[in-house]
Subunit: 244 residues, 2 copies
């Protein structure tokens, strides 16, 4: 299975401006991305980056400066066109199971006329992702596997259908389900708080501090970002305002 | 296993005031509670209500007007004191497994000196709860099983340790983990978006509309509450302002 982590390199995480400076937001986006890559690797996968610009992270990287949906769809089209798609790299998956038992050597469950290497798309800001959560995603059956994000987003996908394409605008969770239904593709929804939590807003940093399994929580704490409890709700505070 | 659903009857869901009138908020709290009870029943459990006042819902009900933590702790103390705690109602659980194989007929894994009927505490506003999600919770191993809520809360618990008590104030997820550690109780964290989503704010209604498996989404739609997509973020709107 091909595992792609899309990363927006320029001006990321603007909604964290009250807590982190622009330079810190860029650095934090990379810290979170490293945590996501580590979770995928610890789930037995070989993640690669799909970055909007060259970036200094230790993973095979494709640079594509198009909008997210276009860049991901190029990967999906590429996986469909791959001449060796049916016997491709999905042997790196966590379950070691290359076949669905249908005897045609085609894991996507279609009619066998279109070869398609399964593709997993995992957002780079899933700072709560653990190897277990990633394994639940990639091991789930279905031609389209979706892990919804809060607010109707699509935080992680596994695509095993050659014709499925993404559109991350708007209520993408609903749109992706409709797109799968239009293709008669089977859909599995993965119920994971860890995969549902993309980190965009200060409130999401509460989740990172409490549940992040990687380096992101420590990175925040080193900069004085901490939990704050007031009027029954938990938020974050920072000892000093964002630096440069 | 005893399954308790705490419900606050008076003035619930005040943070939904921009979308629902006081009478509607009371009604919506009951709709959500019914959905939670149904999910628990469909998981093979016999849920009971722990309500702050008498309420017209079809479930065995204990009325306790004390604050949430005190009322739940009274249930936990009761489960510990129960003379028949070791062979109590946990045969109603989804796995049909009354024993942990330790041969002492005591399912909580302690040293056998304290009998304790396992107790599951499931908040009444988990409108996304499905039978599968509830089953994952009650089937998870551990003397304390926690499903964290967003913002550091504790949305669902299974308690199999006789001395564990709750405190829902503040960052209760962290506090409950610390309390379990102080008792040397084993802890399992359940990674579920459905159980992590308690419905308090208008943004949570997005989740109900998209993912709610019961009557709550339809109830909202009948009142004109719908998804709204603006500036990339999804929220809810209502056709007309809240009525009486």
């Amino acid at each position: 299975m091909r595992v792609v982590v899309p990363l927006s390199v320029s001006g990321p995480k603007s909604r964290l401006a009250d807590v982190l400076s622009p330079a810190e937001r860029r650095a934090f986006a990379l810290v979170m991305c490293r945590d996501v890559l580590a979770a995928a690797r610890d789930a037995g996968l070989d993640p690669e980056l799909l970055a909007t610009a060259p970036v200094d992270l230790d993973a095979p990287t494709t640079v594509d400066d198009r909008p997210l949906s276009e860049a991901v769809n190029a990967v999906l089209a590429d996986a469909t066109d791959a001449p060796d798609a049916t016997d491709a790299t999905d042997g790196t998956g966590t379950d070691g199971d290359d076949e669905n038992g249908d005897g045609n050597g085609n894991e996507n469950g279609d009619d066998g006329t279109g070869a398609h290497e399964p593709v997993c798309v995992l957002m780079a800001d899933l700072a709560l992702a653990t190897p277990d959560a990633v394994a639940r995603l990639v091991d789930a059956p279905g031609e389209v596997v979706v892990a919804p994000g809060r607010g109707g987003g699509t935080n992680a996908l596994v695509v095993r259908h050659p014709d499925f394409r993404v559109d991350y605008h708007g209520v993408s969770y609903r749109d992706h389900r409709e797109a799968a239904a239009a293709l008669d593709a089977s859909v599995t929804v993965v119920d994971s708080m860890r995969l549902a939590t993309d980190v965009d807003e200060p409130a999401d940093l509460v989740e990172v501090l409490l549940h992040g399994p990687g380096d992101a929580p420590g990175w925040l704490r080193e900069r004085g970002v901490a939990l704050s409890v007031g009027d029954g709700r938990v938020s974050v505070t920072r000892e000093s305002p964002p630096g440069g």
